[in-house]
Symmetry: C2
Subunit: 442 residues, 2 copies
């Protein structure tokens, strides 16, 4: 086997970075479970017919086919490109055995055949949380999901040193109603163009709306006016009204958005802003929508997105409305780790390296290790009965903080301070902070 090159678009982590990723996933999962979300996992493949209904996405799907299937066989399966399509299918498939509202999280790889580029991957890890109801789902979940996501991202910030998050929230009813008030029925072409505000600026968007959609200057003024409203408080309501558009649907959207803002601000006032430019491309959103960035790392793009959908799925008896969102773990971690923005205190799980003074005494080291492990202390035994200096260097290279010498009644050295104390393997413990590797901003 010759040495191979990494595959572009398929990021893989070295062991230390893989441990950081694991800690991030554990943290997210911890928050999701505290809020009563249970984990499910769906298969990696879906029938191509399910994956390709949205025309624009078809090109990005990876088809999967047995290598020796007859050449004329059409591929029938593809790798999922998100976790929403599989989740909708799972809900329909198991509706009779699920209890609604159904709260679930899912942490899985997804695949997209896009051209790899900065921030775009062909394989990446997403964490989705959704609450899905049968036929109805109360609007208080519109605030709950953003809050759970922000709480999770806040914990990543506080506990692991990731950058803080800022969630931009909006409401599709507000947008749809506003456009209806302007006499515009088909909003998708407008939303698509307004979405380019960041890239091409208001004048660029104005040109697109004029040239391509032939909108009036008055309508465009209103549209650009709306898209540029961004407030941390309730003042967005007055700013919208000042644009002079009236619509019942818009008023509903304003009320819903105010409610979400108020609940989220009560918990995490610094982490949320109303931003009426946010639309989220996917056409199934029907109420609250959000897009989240990491402060100081806006160039990464949205690290979370989601919203309310009135009918994620539908079967003969019911529709399934929900509120959900994705956190893009690969999208967060690949750039942060590439820039060394996060560090971990050691390369391996082991807190203790048990030295072996002679191969004949290896079983003594095994007893020490067994005693420590019984009390939840991760350790590894010297692979070779080298000179102690070499063994300490071995531990040091991996960042293992403690080296154990002798049998169960032995001694333990903190190789950072050099301090060595007599210790009994049945009772000694490392400092709490050394029990598992520490992740910090660096």
């Amino acid at each position: 086997m010759s040495r191979t090159k990494p595959l572009s678009g398929y990021p893989e982590f070295l062991p230390a970075h893989a441990m950081i990723e694991q800690r991030v996933l554990d943290t997210l999962r911890g928050v999701f479970e505290l809020h009563g979300f249970g984990r499910i996992e769906t298969r990696a493949v879906e029938p191509l017919s399910e994956l390709s209904r949205k025309g624009e996405i078809t090109k990005e799907v990876y088809a999967v086919k047995r290598l020796h299937a007859a050449a004329e066989d059409a591929a029938e399966l593809g790798l999922h490109f998100d976790l929403t399509v599989p989740f909708a299918r799972y809900v329909l498939e198991n509706a009779g055995q699920l209890q609604f509202p159904f709260r679930r999280y899912q942490m899985q790889k997804v695949w997209r055949g896009e051209r790899p580029q900065e921030g775009r991957y062909r394989e990446f890890l997403q964490c989705d949380i959704d609450v899905i109801g049968r036929d109805t789902l109360a609007t208080h979940h519109d605030a709950e999901l953003p809050l759970v996501a922000l709480e999770a991202l806040e914990k990543l910030h506080v506990d692991l040193g990731l950058p803080p998050a800022l969630m931009h929230i909006n409401n599709r009813k507000l947008l749809e109603g506003f456009y209806q008030g302007l006499g515009i029925e088909e909003t998708a072409p407008i939303l698509q163009r307004v979405d380019k505000l960041d890239k091409i600026g208001p004048d660029g968007v104005r040109k697109l709306l004029t040239d391509e959609l032939a909108l009036s200057a008055t309508a465009i003024d209103a549209i650009l006016g709306l898209a540029q409203i961004q407030t941390n408080d309730e003042s967005f309501v007055d700013q919208v009204h000042a644009l002079g558009v009236t619509s019942e649907l818009m008023e509903t959207g304003l009320v819903e958005l105010s409610q979400v803002l108020s609940v989220v601000r009560a918990e995490l006032p610094e982490r949320v802003t109303v931003d009426l430019r946010i639309a989220r491309g996917l056409d199934y959103y029907t109420g609250m929508v959000q897009e989240t960035e990491l402060v100081g790392w806006q160039k990464i793009g949205a690290v979370s997105g989601g919203g309310r959908y009135d009918a994620l799925a539908r079967d003969n008896r019911s529709t399934y409305p929900g509120v959900g969102l994705t956190i893009g773990v690969t999208r967060i971690l690949v750039p942060l780790l590439a820039k060394n923005a996060l560090a971990i205190s050691r390369q391996v799980p082991s807190a203790v390296f048990v030295a072996v003074d002679a191969e004949d005494n290896r079983s003594e080291a095994q007893k020490v290790a067994a005693s420590l492990r019984r009390r939840g202390i991760s350790c590894e035994i010297a692979p070779k009965s080298d000179k102690f200096g070499k063994q300490i260097a071995f531990a040091d290279k991996r960042g293992i903080p403690y080296v154990w010498f002798g049998g169960s009644q032995g001694s333990v050295k903190d190789i950072r301070s050099g301090e060595q104390v007599d210790a009994d393997a049945t009772v000694w413990s490392p400092a709490d902070v050394d029990l598992i590797p520490q992740v910090t901003a660096s």
Copy 2:
């Protein structure tokens, strides 16, 4: 979207079973990390050239291709069918940045395009642990890896109620040396046929060895004699010698096997047996080999397998010997769960259901929930301010043990006993056993 049928060969779990699977994975991971194994994850795809070198496996590989790639483009990537090939590639790719011996675990899905049948899946989850050295790796790891696997399986048995494991160990040097002693150079065709002993019995194997390999009756007697040796103690050494075959390599194998047996027996005497029939098909094993079954569930087949390999990978400068094994989580869990051999105490992570007496008081419930979560207590808030009876039924249906009423100075009811006590949300905790869902044999 119409209701779909499950895809044959792609098992998916309902939420309660997914929680059991998660607990199994957490338990395995906990043991691996206690032993200093760090997690890595590799991409799902490998170049087809890497996946198809072993002729017999080619057919089982799933090729992956962008749906709209030109039809004449040959597929270049495939889904990995195990975690060994990707791990070998990862080691070569990152050899300069890894520290050897390198201890890693990997828990990922693998895919095989086999015909789905009892115990065979097209997508399944494997947990691999390996220790890999550069150029050399001490033989004490031959006992370490089986012991870690057995310790993990024992914890699944004791903590979660899975059936106990029995590991069958052998040594390829013993086999190779024995066959050499019989004057046989090419052992693979023999091992293949002896492997059918369980299915077709000694007479069947004798017939194959006579008809297809034209071996002498004396040689076949010795081969069948060896294959039928199974002991829980060192007596296998005398039994092998009694077959009258002499070989230096065989003696090395006997010593290595005795050492592994002795180390494993010292810890888990009931969980290991020497079984000289075990060969493991893959040709890269060169020393210790093991295959593990669950007692009472032998029909599942091997739930773990692995061994020593002298050169898993090789680059211009080094070879990478290792000892590794796989635990087949899907293969264990799908049949156990299908037979309801395991149960979980509730369907959701929540320990507490916070009732809401009126929508206007929802924020009170949110405060209670926040207090509980701050202390690591998973909870969910009533989705609707129904009558309390309905809310209790909602919690009961999900197996949530406690329902909270009123604000932070409220009361909490254990809905199993019906007992209700006044409680302060800033200090009250559920019984330890109720903190997370309990998995048990059922």
